[in-house]
Amino acid sequence: MISHDNHGLRLAVRYAVLVLVAIIFVFPLLFMVMSSLKPDHQLLVDTGSLRAFLPVGDISFDNYAAAFQRAPISTFVINSVIVTGVTVMLSLAICSLSAFSFVFLRWSGRNLLLSILLATLIVPFETIAIPLLLLVSKLPWLGLDGLEQGWLNSYHVQILPFAADALTIFLFVQYFKDLPSELVEAARVEGASWFQIYLKIIMPLAGPVVATAAILRFLFMYNQYLWPLMVVQSDEYRPVMVGLQYFFQLDTPWGEVMAYLSLITIPVLGFYLMLQRAFIASIASTGVKG
């Protein structure tokens, strides 16, 4: 039981704990952004004091300018936007359509196909990356210059392998199951085609699950590293995370590194802070499986 006289003290202690923990999570990120604004000589001195987390001293965007000089950053950003954007769109369309047919239609082989799909949930991507690398290096592609062999160094090698996945299909299936089936039956009686029902009746109701799936897919795609590292060698198709390798060299000034890191992270953080409830809800919804 909480007695009244120490109620205020307890509350203060609770908040103190919460704030201390928050510092552990915020300060490294704050340090990254603040460092990106400082010249290197100041930066290294500042790490010895709280100034490391404050925008004090000689503040400028020089590091950003230098980072743009070092690497074709705009190309990387455009590549990431294309790869992430297209994959998220494709994945939403393809996975929701599959889930629709699994939930609302009756067809032979349905349960078998769904079980096979769900079984792939326990296969971590890292265990198939190497054989997949061999596979995509052999696959044919009909490009503008005719038939080519091998998918390496392209956008499609970064997009198509991730255009459908069991988790996204599963999220849609779970959501669709809770929708009243009378909606679909009534539309069938009125003679609507399956595709019309999918597009006009079901998808307009699927807002929450679309948001969840889009956020999860977005985070996964934007942050991918292992796969693009292996399949993209030219700057032309390189996404931001692999472009980071330009900043691995030992002689790279830390300020520049921090500028690049801030540049590719702040948009995502901003996006997260605006939609934090949706982000957290989508992670929580992956917890319903099992």
Binding site: P28, I130, A284
Partner: protein
């Protein structure tokens, strides 16, 4: 839904599910079975020679492990030879495996680690030390990160599950590193861990008034893996906090009211109300962390490249190093298969353990 004429449509059903299923089949299921097939060949990424089936040879190369007992070298009179410092001298395994038929089987194998046992020296010898080091590090990583991260995540979940004004802001903050790419986090922490100008050393120095000497966290074989563990937990713990939180919120408040009426302490309420209600969540959290921990790669690639002295080699890093770096697809596939078997085994064991406890 009832199986009515209205909803039965074989053609449309297949047509609609086919794009998704084809993609998953081509890019997940086919490579999955490929991994098993390729691991039994000498496949390379690019090679002028035709691929050959080699059976389990690759597995034999990688997994071969044995315990060898070496007897000390003796002089003509049968006394043990010692060097100036009194250390007992043993024959080199390499020489023995060439000259002694009893040791022929160990040809090409190297000592991974060994210890003294009486006068003799016991040595664990392996054919592929790098694989075993990577396996040991990965298991160590999983065994430390899974319980620690799971535990801290639960603590955080309890912390942000309090009914306090502004609690949502704290939730948002704790979760923040999760949306930041692990690649970005790794490079940022390389700066934080830096031996010369690193934030961590400088902060420790300031806070301790110079009493704590600086450590080259990533350059020292005894701290590198631990430093990577700590950073990985920092980045991902918010993810699991959210999963715990959604588990906590399924527990009915009336149970807590009942516990309160019974005069239960906070610990008792946790022990008898909260924890039993979280059992399924616990299984899920541990399985998810384990699977993520086994996939350890980006941190290594960005921060240490497996070093120093191979102290941060991991299975996925080795799979990529071989399959992509050395274009040895078959070698990379063997590691992939080993990894999958481990992940599967551990999630089956975890499921079995928690199922057992419920009875």
């Amino acid at each position: 839904m009832a199986d009515s004429k209205l909803t039965r449509s074989n053609r449309t059903g297949w047509l609609m599910s086919l794009p998704g299923f084809t993609l998953v089949a081509l890019f997940i299921i086919v490579p999955f079975f490929f991994a098993f097939g390729l691991s039994m060949t000498n496949q390379r990424l690019v090679s002028p020679n035709p691929t050959k089936y080699v059976g389990l040879e690759n597995y034999r190369q990688m997994l071969d492990i044995a315990l060898v007992t070496l007897q000390p070298e003796r002089d003509a009179s049968g006394t043990v030879i010692r060097d100036d410092e009194g250390t007992i001298q043993y024959p080199r395994l390499r020489r023995l495996s060439r000259s002694d038929p009893a040791f022929e089987r160990y040809k090409g194998m190297r000592e991974w680690f060994g210890w003294q046992s009486g006068e003799s020296h016991k040595a664990v010898v392996v054919r592929d030390p790098l694989f075993w080091i990577a396996l040991r590090n990965t298991l160590l990583f999983v065994l430390v990160v899974a319980p620690v991260q799971g535990g801290i995540a639960l603590g955080l979940a309890l912390l942000v599950n309090q009914k306090l004004r502004g609690i949502n802001a704290f939730r948002t903050i704790y979760f923040m590193p999760v949306v930041v790419s692990i690649v970005v986090v790794s490079l940022l922490w390389r700066f934080i861990y830096d031996g010369n100008d690193g934030l961590l050393n400088n902060l420790l120095d300031t806070l301790s008034f110079g009493a704590i000497p600086g450590v080259d966290w990533l350059g020292n074989p005894s701290t590198a893996l631990g430093a990577i563990m700590a950073m990985s937990i920092w980045q991902a713990v918010g993810f699991h906090m959210v999963i715990w939180l959604s588990g906590l919120q399924t527990i009915s408040p009336t149970l807590y009211e009942a516990a309160d009426i019974e005069g239960a302490s906070k610990w008792q309420a946790f022990r008898y109300v909260t924890w039993p209600g979280l059992r399924n969540t616990a299984v899920l959290v541990i399985i998810v962390i384990t699977m993520q921990a086994f996939a350890l790669f980006a941190q290594i690639d960005v921060m240490t490249n497996g070093g120093p002295l191979d102290s941060t080699q991991s299975l996925v890093f080795q799979a990529v190093e071989r399959g992509y770096g050395k274009q040895d697809i078959s070698g990379g596939s063997v590691i992939s298969v080993v990894l999958f078997v481990l992940v599967l085994a551990i999630s089956l064991v975890q499921r079995w353990l928690t199922r057992d406890r419920q009875n």
